[in-house]
Amino acid sequence: MKTVVLGLGNPILCDDGVGPRVARELEGRVDPEKVSVLEAAVGGLALLDLIVGCDRAIIVDAIQTQDGKPGQIYRLAPDALDSTLHVASPHDVNFATALEFGRRLELPLPREIVIFAIEAADVTTFREDCTPQVASAIPVCAAMVLQALDEACAPRTEHR
């Protein structure tokens, strides 16, 4: 089974870079024969390019919700995607549309897509690290990704 872990985000935009930072936390901790760990800052159809051909996809991205606390981690299914920051692009379609596009074209899409979204405090300041609360979520999220890699269960929604 081939799995891709995608850390989405801009690494120089503070908490927006939490996705790539979680991906880096996984370095050396996964079997490269079975798991590809990538960093990317794309959405829409471009995201589709990265997951086609894989059996499973785990996506890590920043999120901003109305009542969330910075550093909170949500495990989401693809149908809860509108709120994460990078799965949508203003020059493209959103990820839900891109996924449906791929399904209708009968592309070899992952049979399971899990999204770990980390509540961000600041996604507009140019800096190369995250805010403290979000930074503290990085190893926790990485552990959750590793646990998900071992799982065979269906996606569910849960909060830390």
């Binding site: 471009a46 589709l48 549309t97």
Partner: protein, 420 residues
């Protein structure tokens, strides 16, 4: 790419020919993926499905259901081709890292060149198909032709774009040319001179400024020759140029102006047609560059030796002219930045286009349907703005508010969708 050219200027360094050609090859592929995504995902649904069709169908999925699933596959394939070429040249397609002051970080191999050449050929064929689709679905439909050339989507303005030494469209390099609403050249300048020609007006209700032509002046949100408002865009580039630099695109350029009665064209929805002509040009130009013997030359960078201070870089972004102006200290640390992006250049015109469309489609005592609100959206979607334009998703979700005032300025009705 504007940043690359600005840093060249800051360091007073000129990349070698192979470095410039490699940048241009990268950039043509950027245009290919961007224009494909915009046309099929954002523009085509309005025309293939109809501007007032059910929003649940008026999206890229509706388009491929109607024109054929195999077309959807071709869309994905050619976007992926272009992005793979970008990533191969510059490390990443989005946020590339290969451009550096003086050129590019590495050359390409013959193996890469052959791969890029095959992809460019395929992109040319797909571009021709896309133009045929536009012709069959839009131009051959009298109602659509009337819609795109109609008054509600027409705005008389100046136009700005980059041209090469023969006044042909060029995305990467050249002089900035401005024509008036009659198509007459009124300015042609080098990037470093931009502040002599462009100024910015501000309004208290917007963070975004309103650029205008300095020599004409800011006269408010009005059209015409006496107003300094100008537009950038695929159509602006075709309007300011005397032609295209590749043969197939040139033929399409001539067809556009013959169909619409000459230059310049002021119809905003024709941005979409011009975008497809540019897709063809980008594909042809990518092939030309792939077949240029110099493209695999290892000398792709000139090492800077001068002390950095200040520089301006200008390119044509897919949406329009892009200015990057940097000032640095003697170590090259940036001390001041000024950017004027395409959406900023177009901001005054966008306001007017939206207003004109709203006034054209919303009539007294007639219900304002979702379809009519979409027709208002179409007026600015053509600009492919870099503001949140999350349209044609499942379902289309564009925050839009229309406020109708009476002659005394009282709010009569407030209509909106997806307003939070």
């Amino acid at each position: 790419m504007a940043s690359c050219k600005a840093t060249d200027a800051v360091y007073h360094v000129d990349p070698p020919p192979a470095g410039k050609k490699l940048r241009e090859l990268f950039y043509c592929n950027h245009y290919i993926h961007s224009h494909i995504a915009h046309f099929y995902a954002l523009a085509a649904p309005d025309f293939v499905m109809g501007p007032t069709s059910d929003p649940a169908q008026r999206n890229v999925l509706g388009v491929i259901a109607k024109v054929g699933l195999e077309i959807g596959g071709e869309v994905l394939k050619h976007r992926a081709y272009a992005q793979s070429v970008q990533a191969s040249i510059a490390g990443k397609a989005t946020h590339p890292v290969g451009g550096i002051p003086g050129g590019m970080s590495k050359p390409i191999t013959e193996e890469q060149r052959k791969d890029f050449e095959q992809k460019a050929k395929s992109c040319i064929e797909f571009s021709k198909f896309s133009l045929k689709l536009f012709n069959d679905v839009v131009l051959a439909n009298k109602d659509y032709l009337n819609l795109i050339t109609g008054e509600i989507y027409t705005m008389k303005s100046y136009f700005m774009g980059l041209v090469d030494s023969k006044n042909r469209v060029n995305f990467y390099d050249g002089d900035i040319r401005v024509v008036d609403p009659d198509g007459k050249e009124v300015a042609k300048f080098k990037p470093a001179q931009y502040l002599d020609y462009v100024a910015e007006h501000t309004e208290p209700w917007s963070y975004l400024k309103f650029p205008f032509l300095k020599k004409v002046g800011w006269k408010g949100f009005v059209e015409g020759k006496d107003s300094g408002i100008y537009r950038v865009s695929p159509l602006a580039r075709l309007n300011v140029a005397d032609g295209m630099a590749t043969p197939l695109a040139q033929a399409e350029y001539e067809k556009l102006y013959k169909t619409l009665g000459g230059k310049p064209v002021h119809a905003t929805l024709v941005f979409h047609w011009a975008r497809l002509i540019e897709l063809l040009y980008a594909s042809e130009r990518a092939l030309e560059l792939c077949q240029d013997k110099e493209i695999t030359d290892p000398k792709v960078r000139t090492i800077p030796t001068a002390t950095p201070d200040e520089g301006v870089g200008v390119v044509e972004a897919p949406r329009g002219t892009l200015f990057h102006h940097y000032k640095t200290d003697e170590k090259g640390i940036v001390t001041k930045v000024n950017l004027i992006v395409a959406t900023a250049h177009n901001y005054p015109a966008m306001q007017m286009s939206i207003k004109k469309a709203a006034q054209g489609v919303i009539k007294k005592k007639q219900p304002v349907t979702e379809g009519l609100l979409n027709m208002v959206e179409m007026a600015f979607r053509a600009y492919d703005p870099c503001s949140a334009c999350a349209t044609h998703t499942l379902p289309g979700q564009m925050p839009l508010e229309v406020v109708i005032y009476n002659s005394r300025g009282d709010v009569v009705e407030r209509l909106g969708q997806h307003i939070q």
